[in-house]
């Protein structure tokens, strides 16, 4: 039990800190050094999603339904996957059109129709009131618990008269706080950097508070979460919480909650405000998409252990599970921790209330009150800045008092979670008009109005009305037997649908009505020009974003415009804005000049930030004389501009293609030159190769002719040389012809099943003479069975002969040893020819298969081959789809290897 004054002093100190942070944030923003312009603050500010409901209600829900609290956090996690392309598009649209609330956004999409904005505002207010009352309830309950809790047997005092009700004072305090924070001045962009900073700070506080309570309960009161879980499993009552069967409504409810929270994270007015309006940089969405789910995960880690702890400690007593987070530390006499938890809850509640009331007051002011006020002559000419602020402050106070009323008369009979879900279901009504609206051009104004109204009506009938009945405002007979005895109209079982819990039931019918009317009406509707224009601007925002769609051709003076802006934003503000505009567009002075269309639309955007796009339009048209450009003309401008963009895209494409073609041509040319060079080289090498044997044939023939006296022995020797050299010549010419054939691809290839064993045998026998002459030993290692490959037999023999004669060339006569080895493995036949010659340097191993490559530095004598043998072998093996390579180390001989795919017959044998 804590004294009143302790709690109050701590709370006020805390609120003071918040205010200081907000003040500092605003100051920094004015100085142009934003403290919120980073993805982390953005992420933390999104965590305004976690309200007092998360803080106290999750534990309460977990205590009764086990995992039932999780879909509320899984939904946003899943939805975050879509942020990068859905949310980014929404942000871009809102930035381009200066939209400052969800009502403004939807109204602007549907032909800037004020009626749409009004409907959205009304749905928002009706839907969010329960949520705000929920926060009041949470704060006042936690305050009372902190003040009065003594033991588990203690029973909470009943709420007394209004004047002794803490919730009323909480509501008033929050109203003051929100007014101080949110309506200090009217800003064109409707951004509140200071508040975002404060909200981010609150998010840190609530996470830490929850974590501290969790760690304390798990590790100090119990010996860790596993002990808690173990205790719980022993009890049949608690072990049920490990399963999903305790979830009311079962898996359908789980699905609905996931869906609702997916929509809520984007379309609750306060989430829209934080995510879209307060966004500084689209890129921040990227980090927030995964960091925010991480925050949710972290804040939910201790929910189950805490609720189990509460259930175990307070077994047999009636302690409200929603208060476990406070009562468990209090029970253990840890008042400091309880106080910290209270601050966390206060953070959660104030954060939500501030942002929600600011968002709602902006909507009420811009979309509900201003359109009406501006029609009244009296207001058209006055300085409206004070009026604007008064409306906003009044609506903040009004919202909170209404929230209090809801809490006082209805909220008591509900648990925290149910109230929150009613609000979620209301926010989900915005999902179809936005999601369909930003992707489907044909979604029309009438469709949107019909969809919104239908969804809203179903929501009222199936969720709000029953809540009135339950709290005794109207007869409960409507729940049991339907209105006027029409059984099929029962609010919880519409048309006899009785398989769902109330929330799922309501979401199903309202979404069906909403989407059905939106799509159905749109399909049969004819859009007018304004609708088509806005739809195009929204759907194609990434294409048209930079296109100027000014819609004013009339004339007005700069000073008139400036006066108009000043009436809403204050003289200093307007001066500054216009000076900035002049600086940006290099205009020396803006005084008494005719305002051009650009300046008019600039002023309109400024105004629409402050009073909403619909009102801004009305105001601008009051000072601009002359005709407004017709919307058809704007559409034409848009079309022309997008055509231009299209053209420039196409030109870019063409020039890229040209560049590519040039690149290809250059490469082809280079290749041609290379081939030409190779051909020359080939010719000169071949002629050189041919000349050597020819020369020796000729010179020996001349010797024989000129010296008839030569003895037989000499004569014989010379003739032998002549024969040998002519043989070499023939061989060379044959090889060149062969090579030319293979190269020109005119060679005829046969393809049979060939036994490699026999191929090697034949090759060896035809070359054995050469081995004997050079006295080099040839060893043959072949398996007994046949190895079949699909190949051209003669060419394969040629390859083996080439490799063998190549080996002979590099072996020292007398000590030379050559081994030919055949093996088969893994679908491949492998032939190796190994010698013990000088080996091949690694640098040369790649080159030796090239034309006329002859090993350098080994022998100075005349070349020993055409230089074509290996090249031809290489081509042949490649032609058969095989592989040929060499393995060698200098000084240790060389091993030539080729592999060919086995045919099936040899594989099976």
């Amino acid at each position: 039990m804590l004294q009143y004054w302790v709690i109050l002093v701590v709370s006020f100190c805390y609120l003071g800190i918040l205010f200081a942070i907000a003040y500092y944030g605003d100051k920094r923003a004015e100085a142009g050094r934003s403290i919120i312009s980073n993805p982390y603050v953005y992420t933390l500010s999104i965590a305004v999603y976690c309200t007092a409901w998360t803080f106290y209600g999750s534990v309460g829900r977990s205590a009764t339904t086990g995992a039932g609290f999780l879909p509320i956090y899984l939904g946003p996690t899943l939805m975050a996957a879509l942020w990068w392309f859905v949310l980014r598009k929404i942000i871009r649209i809102a930035k381009v059109h200066r939209l400052t609330s969800i009502a403004d956004f939807i109204a602007s999409r549907y032909a800037r129709d004020p009626l749409v904005g009004e409907i959205v505002t009304i749905i928002s207010v009706a839907g969010i009131l329960p949520y705000i009352s929920l926060q009041l309830k949470a704060v006042s309950t936690s305050f009372i618990v902190l003040h009065t809790f003594q033991s588990p047997s203690h029973i909470m005092p009943p709420t007394g008269s209004i004047w002794s009700d803490t919730a009323l004072y909480v509501a008033l305090l929050m109203a003051v706080f929100a007014i101080l924070f949110g309506t200090r001045h009217i800003d064109a962009s409707e951004r509140h950097e200071g508040i975002v900073a404060a909200i981010a700070f609150e998010s840190v506080v609530k996470l830490i508070a929850f974590g501290v309570a969790g760690i304390f309960i798990c590790f100090y009161l119990f010996a860790g979460p596993s002990e808690l879980v173990y205790d719980a499993v022993q009890s049949p009552q608690l072990s049920k919480l490990m399963k999903l069967e305790t979830l009311p409504g079962g898996y359908a409810s789980w699905f609905t909650l996931t869906f609702l929270s997916m929509m809520a994270i984007l379309f609750l007015p306060r989430q829209f405000h934080i995510l879209v309006v307060e966004n500084v940089n689209e890129e921040h969405v990227k980090t927030a998409s995964w960091l925010f789910p991480l925050y949710l995960l972290a804040i939910n880690l201790f929910v189950l252990p805490i609720s189990l702890a509460g259930l175990i400690l307070f077994q047999g007593w009636s302690v409200d599970p929603d208060t476990y987070l406070l009562t468990v530390p209090l029970y253990a006499d840890q008042q400091l921790i309880a106080l910290f938890v209270f601050l966390g809850g206060l953070s959660a509640a104030t954060g939500m209330v501030i942002v929600a009331t600011i968002a709602l007051s902006t909507m009420i002011c811009n979309d509900l009150v201003m359109p009406v006020l501006l029609r009244i002559r009296y207001f058209q000419l006055r300085d409206l800045r004070d009026v604007l602020l008064a409306i906003r402050r009044g609506s903040i106070l009004g919202i909170l008092l209404l929230g209090y009323a809801y809490f006082r008369f209805i909220g008591e009979s509900y648990a925290l979670v149910t109230i929150g879900l009613v609000s979620f279901a209301a926010a989900a009504q915005f999902a179809p008009v936005i999601l369909i609206g930003i992707y489907w051009r044909r979604a029309s104004r009438r469709g949107a109005i019909a969809g919104l109204l239908a969804g809203f009506a179903v929501w009222i009938y199936t969720l709000l009305l029953p809540s009135f009945a339950i709290s005794g405002w109207i007869s409960t007979s409507i729940l049991d037997s339907g209105p006027f005895g029409f059984k099929f109209l029962e609010p919880y079982h519409l048309f006899g649908l009785d398989m769902f819990d109330p929330i799922t039931h309501s979401v199903f019918w309202s979404m069906l009505a909403n989407v059905g009317f939106l799509v159905g009406v749109s399909l049969f509707d004819r859009q007018n020009a304004m609708e088509r224009l806005q739809a195009t601007l929204f759907v194609d925002v990434f294409r048209h974003g930079s296109i100027d769609t000014r819609q004013w051709s009339g004339t007005t003076t700069v000073s008139e415009l400036k006066d108009l802006v000043a009436r809403f934003m204050g003289f200093n503000h307007a001066n500054k804005a216009f000076a900035e505009y002049a600086a940006k567009h290099n205009i020396a002075s803006l005084n008494d000049v005719q305002a051009d269309a650009n300046l008019v639309s600039f002023a309109e955007r400024k105004l629409s930030g402050a009073i909403g796009s619909a009102s801004a339009r009305v105001m601008i048209s009051s000072v601009v004389k002359g005709e407004e450009i017709s919307i058809e003309e704007v559409m034409n401008i848009l079309d022309e501009a997008s055509q231009l963009i299209e053209y420039s895209h196409r030109i870019e494409e063409k020039s890229r293609e040209l560049e590519n073609a040039t690149e290809k041509l250059r490469a082809a040319n280079k290749r041609l030159q290379e081939l030409d060079r190779l051909k020359d080289e080939f010719l000169s090498t071949v002629t050189h190769e041919l000349r050597t044997p020819l020369t020796s044939v000729r010179s020996f023939s001349e010797i024989l002719r000129d010296n008839p006296s030569l003895d037989m022995k000499e004569r014989q020797k010379f003739l032998d040389i002549i024969v040998k050299e002519s043989e070499r010549l023939t061989r060379l010419i044959n090889q060149v012809l062969d090579f030319a054939k293979i190269e020109s691809k005119s060679a005829v290839w046969t393809r049979d099943s060939v036994d490699l064993n026999k191929v090697i045998m034949e090759a060896v026998s035809s070359i054995s003479q050469l081995f004997q002459e050079n006295s080099i030993k040839l060893k043959k290692v072949v398996p007994d069975e046949s190895i079949f490959v699909m190949a051209d037999r003669d060419r394969l023999i040629q390859v083996v002969i080439n490799l063998l004669s190549n080996a002979v060339k590099f072996c020292e006569p007398g000590i030379g040893r050559v081994t030919v080895r055949l093996s088969a493995s893994a679908g491949n036949a492998r032939v190796e020819v190994q010698d013990n010659g000088p080996g091949i340097h690694p640098d040369e191993q790649e080159l030796i298969f090239e034309k006329f490559h002859q090993l350098k530095g080994l022998h100075d004598e005349k070349p020993r081959g055409s230089g074509l043998g290996l090249t031809i072998s290489h081509r042949i093996i490649k032609h058969h789809g095989g592989n040929i390579w060499v393995e060698s180390k200098p000084g240790e001989g060389a091993k030539f290897i080729f592999e060919l795919a086995l045919t099936d017959t040899s594989q099976s044998s």
């Binding site: 979460p225 898996y251 996931t258 998409s289 189950l304």
Partner: protein
Amino acid sequence: MAESKRQNERLIVLLIIGFIALNYPLLSLFSKVKLVFGIPVLYLYIFTVWSVFIGCMAVILEKKSSSSLMNHLPKSEKSE
């Protein structure tokens, strides 16, 4: 543009997988009183899927080096 499209496709597939993994009927497989590492198997499953989902999202969104590399790829594909 092509790369951001790929990124979007990946994110949508991730969302679908996540939605299936965290709903009936897959969820019902883990709805039983059983402890793994001292954690109820239902919670272990949900929190694991949750963490993996976040991890995947971070990888998809924050992958910078490859996205700049990918931007050049379509050009070279065309030239072939």
